[in-house]
Symmetry: C2
Amino acid sequence: MQLTSVRLEPPYLLYLGDTPDDDHAKTGHGIAYWRPEHCAGQMRLGDCPVDLGLPEMSVADAVDAGVKTVIIGVAPLGGQIPDHWLPQLIEFARVGIDIASGMHSKLKSMPDLVAAAYKGGSTLTDVRVPPANLPVGQGKPRSGKRILTIGTDCAVGKKYSALALHRELERRDFKATFRATGQTGIMIAGEGIPIDAVVADFISGAAEVLSPDNDDDHWDVIEGQGSLWNPSYSGVTLGLLHGSQADALVVCHDAARTNILDVFGDYPIPELDEVVDDALRLARRSRPRCFCAGVSVNTSTMTDFEREAYLGKLQDHLGLPCVDPVATGMSPIVNFLLKHA
Amino acid sequence: MQLTSVRLEPPYLLYLGDTPDDDHAKTGHGIAYWRPEHCAGQMRLGDCPVDLGLPEMSVADAVDAGVKTVIIGVAPLGGQIPDHWLPQLIEFARVGIDIASGMHSKLKSMPDLVAAAYKGGSTLTDVRVPPANLPVGQGKPRSGKRILTIGTDCAVGKKYSALALHRELERRDFKATFRATGQTGIMIAGEGIPIDAVVADFISGAAEVLSPDNDDDHWDVIEGQGSLWNPSYSGVTLGLLHGSQADALVVCHDAARTNILDVFGDYPIPELDEVVDDALRLARRSRPRCFCAGVSVNTSTMTDFEREAYLGKLQDHLGLPCVDPVATGMSPIVNFLLKHA
């Protein structure tokens, strides 16, 4: 079957609308940061304060620059595309530029936009829609090597860590592919499967399709989703873990987080040695030799001194490389990974 | 929100078509066995050899007997409704009798049937379609008591064991509700949520909706799905486990099974003490006081002597009641459950 439902063609124009702040423009920032070579420009409405540092473009500019895809790089509250963005999106569609969105409201459910895309020969891509006809997981051992990021909670840096691992592997001339499982990751990679939008029966099947058989020396770096310790999303995480057949896990954590976010009730984040043990025990069901290659911690609330003390202590305790992917980089984890794989 | 997507009104007529054998009529057998008081009759085509022991009925007989719902009690290969069944189903719809199906092909996708149902005022229910607008799991502790069946694999008796537990609790005049999570269970209960058809993000939310707050002395007996040890479906199982907030688990097993069915690769079923420990460790994330109330084993391949020796040895080893739900009954597990809850 076709690997994924989504393929985005660069160069991109990142559409920001009149988004009020950077928090709502994480997708745009992610794409601009990780794929600057694919980003030709940005478009904003009115006095939108968000700035990705890309050239400002009109529709005509985008045509001149050879832009192939407009990516809606923001997530407005409620996930709906506001009506007043529609005229510009329709203009893009009319001139044959593709449009991609990860929002809850689907581009393909907007009749005027669909009509314009039909006339203009433009493709509308709703990134949150999983591929049709995903298989049930088969459990069959696969060739190639895979590493998966596992979070102590949601929003602790699983995507960032996976992208940083992938970049470090490529920097060292290893064959590696970033495998995206969430909307922003998919837009950065240009392809992927939105694993949390898949029907429950097919989670591990989707994970198997996402990271298929590969060369023995090739690494798939798989973006984790949810958390085994978050009772809202643990099913997604376990299905992804079992389907991924990871050779190695990287545990991702936010040092400032003591409890699972956005749940009601008492859900403390376990100690990290327990996290590693529990994750490996589950992972080894489908990949008996799986090991933990390190811990990637968001320590952005710490001073340099605090960070050094925290990571040093953690590293001594776990016997694993412990890094902040932004402040200290992924190199120690990649060293450990390559030594033990 | 409305508790479940499905409500079936008895009395039922069980439709068997020309199903070739009992293996393809498990749904019909399950409904006839567990809900005889709801079953008015059966209908077969030609020389169908399957017999549920119910009165044979024509459409006119069904009208006379006050049948409210025709349930398609079979699962043909491929899950499609054969064209030659359609004339009879259309006749039922025309006379205002509801139709329910758990097959992959949807009743509501058959235009002639939909038209007949519209004219006749009959409701078409596709049991595999989950409710719309399920919430994300919240993790909020709930009142009431819940027990969940957990399988060492798929098809080891989770539904049967849950129904037998429910029956035993009701026999002892406890307040109890069977909570169905699969198509046959839903048809037996008359309501429920097909948990494996829910979008991955909402598995535990669906489980929370399925077993809501209740009286402190009320038991929800929840039908398990999939298996934590089956890499194809483990995500469904963990989401259901975390969302159910079970006070007690009953482990279900098939004594003749040493490996997970229908997967490719080496997936031995772990020892049962390991199964109990692993399941409790995960369950306690959302219900810290969760305990195991016993093990329910399909020992149908054993002689009475072998069964007694097997269950006795297992019981000594685990320190938990170990039963065959058919051969020895659920009473010891319910005794243990009520003593420790």
